[in-house]
Structures are given as structure tokens and as C-alpha cells.
Amino acid sequence: MLPIPLITADNEAFWTGGRDGRLLIARCSDCGSYSHPPTPRCSACFGQNVGPVPVSGRGRVHSFTVNRQQWSPELEVPYVIAIVELDEDPAVRIFSNIVGCPADEVVIGMPVEVEFVHRGDAFLPVFRPVDA
């Protein structure tokens, strides 16, 4: 099995929101800023009123790399490792995989939408191409 993240009080909403099909990102209810990774203090105004809120799960591929190295026998290569910028705030970057299309078809700017991979206690957000 591929690694799973250690789930903590700070990141639990992000890693488990997918159980209900929701991508939850930390947002400040005072100033409205998103903070990612989630943190107990808003990274813009440093206030404490920050908590997980659902976002659309839509975004764009900011950049990517296609891993072709067989780091371990159980790995199926190639696979796409991407940084996705969220539609709600392109400064929020989700480090993830692009699934559902051939690796060589991924391009910068490609619109994508979240889905979730259940592994251990985590529901890992991954992204699939969608029409713009």
C-alpha cells in the first residue's frame, strides 16, 4: 500500500472530508482568507476563527510531473503528480495526482475536479480532467 498521511487535529477535516464527498479547506470567518495546509490561525489575519469549509473541488493544473521511476515493485507507473490551484483561490495549491486520463495528456491549465481515494483512514483528494 502507498503511504497514508498521519491524521492530526489540524489536518483531519482535509483528509477525511472525502468520506462525504467534500473537499474541506480551512477558511477564516473573519477575513475570508483560505489557509492551506490547515492551521489553527488564519495565515492572513492570524485570527483564531478559522475552520474547514467545503469548496467546489474544481481547479486547474498549475504544474505537474509524470513519475516513471519504479520506486517500489508495487507501484504502477507512469502516474501524474500535480499541483492543482483551486478555483476559489489559485493561491491554495493541492498537491495531488491527476487520474482518469493518459499521463501524456495532462497540460498546465487543464481544468480538473476532485474525487477521493480511500486509503487507511484517509480519503485522499485526487483530480480528474473535466470540461472547462
Binding site: 502507498l2 503511504p3 497514508i4 498521511p5 498521519l6 491524521i7 492530526t8 489536518n11 492551506h36 495546509p37 498549475h62 504544474s63 505537474f64 510531473t65 509524470v66 513519475n67 516513471r68 521511476q69 520506486w71 517500489s72 508495487e74 507501484l75 502516474y79 503528480i81 500535480a82 499541483i83 493561491a91 495549491r93 498537491f95 495531488s96 495526482n97 498546465i108 486509503r119 487507511g120 483512514d121 484517509a122 485522499l124 485526487v126
Partner: protein
Amino acid sequence: MSAELEQRCIISGIGQSEIGRPLQRGVTALTLDACLQAISDAGLRPADIDGVITWPGSVTGAGGLAPPGPGTCGPGVHAVIDALRLQTNWHYAGPETPGAFATVIHACMAVATGLCRHVLVYRGVNEATAWSTATDRVGADPDGVAGMMGWLLPYGAFSGPNWMGSWITRHMHEYGTTREQMGAIAVNARRNAQLNPAAVMRKELTLEDYLGSRMISDPLCLFDCDVAVDGAVAVIVSAREHAAGLPHPPVLFQAVGSALRGRASWDQWQDLTQTAAADAGAHMWARTELKPSDVDIAGLYDGFSVLSLFWLEGLGFCGTGESGPFVEGGARIARDGELPLATGGGHLSAGRLHGFGHLHEVCLQLRGEAGERQVADAEVGVASAGAGPLASCLLLSRG
């Protein structure tokens, strides 16, 4: 004019163990070789050393931005202190720094503040012996991966090429940087390694070889990646009053750079067309009146070939986005070019010593002791270390 920190310090001695892939001797033996050589090179005895620092030290766990892998740590500071029966005023090791040259900058701070007179700075690795694949990260922490790696490893991003790949993809997208341009870094390093008896990769490497090698993580291919080795480097940072009467010419500090202005993160860094090299570079130049055009040789970090491109831009040797054309064809960065790069073969061909190989080579060049590969009239040199959010750099000159 250098800032006060730099004015108070010199590099008084350098040492390097045998470098190989792999070696029979253990990493502690190699590290002590390098340390004793550096101490002797400075005209000192172990009893004169009153400070010690290494990076990352004897650490485990993958919580930080620079997670240790098999063979990357070498003996910790306490092991070296005890082995050499050193008597220190100060010692330190830690992985959470602005790149590996934070050790040298820390040593300068210890010397400049009067805490120490002679600081032993070292880096020892036995990755060639210890490293087979990154599978220890695939199987890492079955209960869940903590810290920075908890965001990367679950997505199969097990190693540096996976973390840096997206940065260079973006650089190519924005500026049209090509694989041929990246390859010029690898080919130049190999050409220089052919004149360095200590380099581990000395067989000819052509641009065609480079372009034909297998992909690791697009667009990074095998020859974009540096080579795991067993070996160690040490330098002695001394107070400037010791410059007179050294066995070798002292190497002077003109400026150090260690700034981090972007996110302290691999995946949240906002502008993937530049690395923390831009922050450390700007910081370094703000501490000196020297200019990029004053630099005669550059040991720019090349854990991946593309990192040298980021450093070229970050240090202002070319404009933003212009590093690809700058290196294309290799003439400008050759030993007889306007900015000789990786004159000892770099980490790509001389072995992965996490910046310390470059530091050793730049010191050799500034001392005029680089033998067959000596660059004529090398008076000012820069050495840099780090990738992504990690960066530190040193502007050095002949004493």
C-alpha cells in the same frame, strides 16, 4: 565592503575524503579523514578546534523539508567530537535550515560573535552503500506519515525528482526552457569531471546520451540527477586574525545569503519558476558591493541539473527566465567561458555531497590548487546549496 559577519571570518582549511560508489570504508572513517585533513590543512591540531557543526546531524524521521534518506546523515556532531576528543565552546547540528550551507553561515556567526576561533564544518554521506531505491519511503510510517512528507508521499512523490519536476515543468511552460538547455549543465559537469581524478563519473557524456537517457520524473531524466556516493568534505571556519601564516592561502567571505521569502513548503511555493535561490541570492548581493559580473567561478548546486538554472537566475547571472539560453551550447559555462560552472564536475558527475563538493572545489580554485582544471585568475567564486524552498549561498574570494 562586506558586512561585519563576513569580515571577521575566513576558511582556513579544507579536506575531502576519498569519494566512491561505494567504498569499503565506513562513513565515520571517511568523515574523520576529511575532518583531520581540513584541520591539518589549516595548520591546526584537533585540540585547536573549539566549534563543530554539520547538516543534518544524526536525525531520523521525515517531518521536515529535507527528510533524511539511507546514508544521508553521516556521523552526528557528538560522534565526531568524541572521536577526535574535541573540546568545544559550541556545537550544533540540525536539518531545518536554509540549505546545507547554513552550517557554514552558522559557523561564521559563532566565530564573528567570539564564541569560537576555529569551527569544524563537515558533511559525510554513505548513500552509495546505503541507498538501493527509495522503497524505505514507500513503506514509511505505516501508521501515517507526519509533517511535510505527509503531504507528498501519499501521492507517490517519493524523491527529489518528483518534488522538483513540477517546478521545471512550469519554467519550461513560462519561458520555453528546453531539455537541450538542461542537458548543457550535465554535459558541462561531465567534461569538467574528466579532469578531476576524484570525480566518480568520468566517461564522456554527450548531449545525445543525455537526451536518450530514461525519464525519471518528467522532464527530469537520469542524467539530470546527481550521483549517490560515499564520501565526506570538511572545512575550517576561523577568525580572520588567523589568516596570516596559514599553510595555504585563506579564502575570504565576501557575503553570505540565506533568506527565505516564499512559503516554507515544497507544495505551497507560489512561483514555481523560481526557487528560494532568488531569495538567498538577493540577500547575498545586498551584503556586498561586488556584482555578479565580478564572479570568476561558480559552484552552483546541481542535485538536479535544473537547479543550476534556478541558481543562475536567483544569483542574477542572467535575467529571470533566461537561464536556458544562457547555458545553451555550453560555451559560456565552460572552464574557459565567461562563467565557469561546476569546475570539478559538480554533484552530477563528481558525486552528491549536498553542496559541500562545490564548496571544496571553489576553495581549491580560489587557492589556485585545482591542478589541470584550474581556471586562470580565479579570484571571486560563489558556492550554493539547495533546491525548492531550501537555499543558501556563499560569495568567497582569494585572500
